[in-house]
Symmetry: D2
Subunit: 99 residues, 4 copies
């Protein structure tokens, strides 16, 4: 199991706002059933590495449907094989150290 952060930036759009593109991504994630969390800098998704990167390819293609001419997608994939890490575990572990 891995955690992936995905940020999709459409270029050559008329406005600097990307909210509509981000909403598209959230709707796809709900429909496909991936556990996920939206942050101010991207979307964090839990799944198997191979499935997550295949998902990234599908999400990267979405803004072109809405007229973007260029899309820059950033992915950070974090996988541990020494223990199981699910969405929320990392923040909880840090919080426990701070309390």
């Amino acid at each position: 199991m891995a955690i992936m952060q995905l940020t999709i930036i459409p270029l050559g759009t008329q406005t600097p706002s990307v909210g509509q593109y981000v909403a598209d991504i959230q709707q796809t994630l709900r429909r496909e059933g991936f556990p996920h969390e939206l942050t101010d800098m991207g979307t964090i998704i839990e799944g198997e590495p191979q499935e997550l990167l295949a998902l990234a390819a599908r999400l990267h293609a979405l803004p072109f449907v809405h007229g973007a001419q260029r899309v820059v997608t950033q992915v950070v994939l974090d996988e541990r094989r020494d223990k199981t890490v699910n969405l929320g575990d990392k923040t909880a572990a840090v919080q426990a150290r701070l309390d």
Copy 2:
């Protein structure tokens, strides 16, 4: 005002866990008074661009104090000048589209 995501990865440490380093960062942020939010993939911080990058330099130096031999720090800085964006505004704007 800008939003910065910061992820600090220490290399050449004996274990693959980085929770202690992340806790150090959180304590520094609390002490310095920057509005911030911890996610599973990094820390999101609000501030002026120049101050945020100077802060990133201080946080990047922390793991060396605890024995790391190499540190890779990733920063994404997002600044809009057409409107004011504070921590939490971007997720709220997307949520409003989804509801």
Copy 3:
């Protein structure tokens, strides 16, 4: 056609050097025939977006074979549909402006 930058960081290894892991990636790229270029901060690869992300999944898995316990892989995928961009085109376009 798209351009992808890939950076693979193994954690929980005994040394802070990652040269062996990077050499593994280069050998896989040569064998699979993807046009690519090694930089000091990652590997830049040319291909179709879906194939590039499937390739990223295979390359991400390599360090585990050599004993890494945790792997963080960063991908930046840049695709334009308004014109064809091949490896080297972007640097050449900037160079032309500077000369």
Copy 4:
């Protein structure tokens, strides 16, 4: 000494091309005398960590001068304290393993 990769993405521009912004960055780097190398996915620069992040703040501000409304800047800073690493050393070390 550290190595930094910098990628600056202006949003809300009329065209999806960012060559002019990248050329501005190169001219600033030449003028300020930082050793640097342009790649298809960003600019790699050598220097002290604190100076590099202060430089990133100056470069991040450039596209606003040319009319961008929003700028997303990505920085990856890689610092080793167990040995000195200069621009080009990492690619040379990998090349030596492949030959």
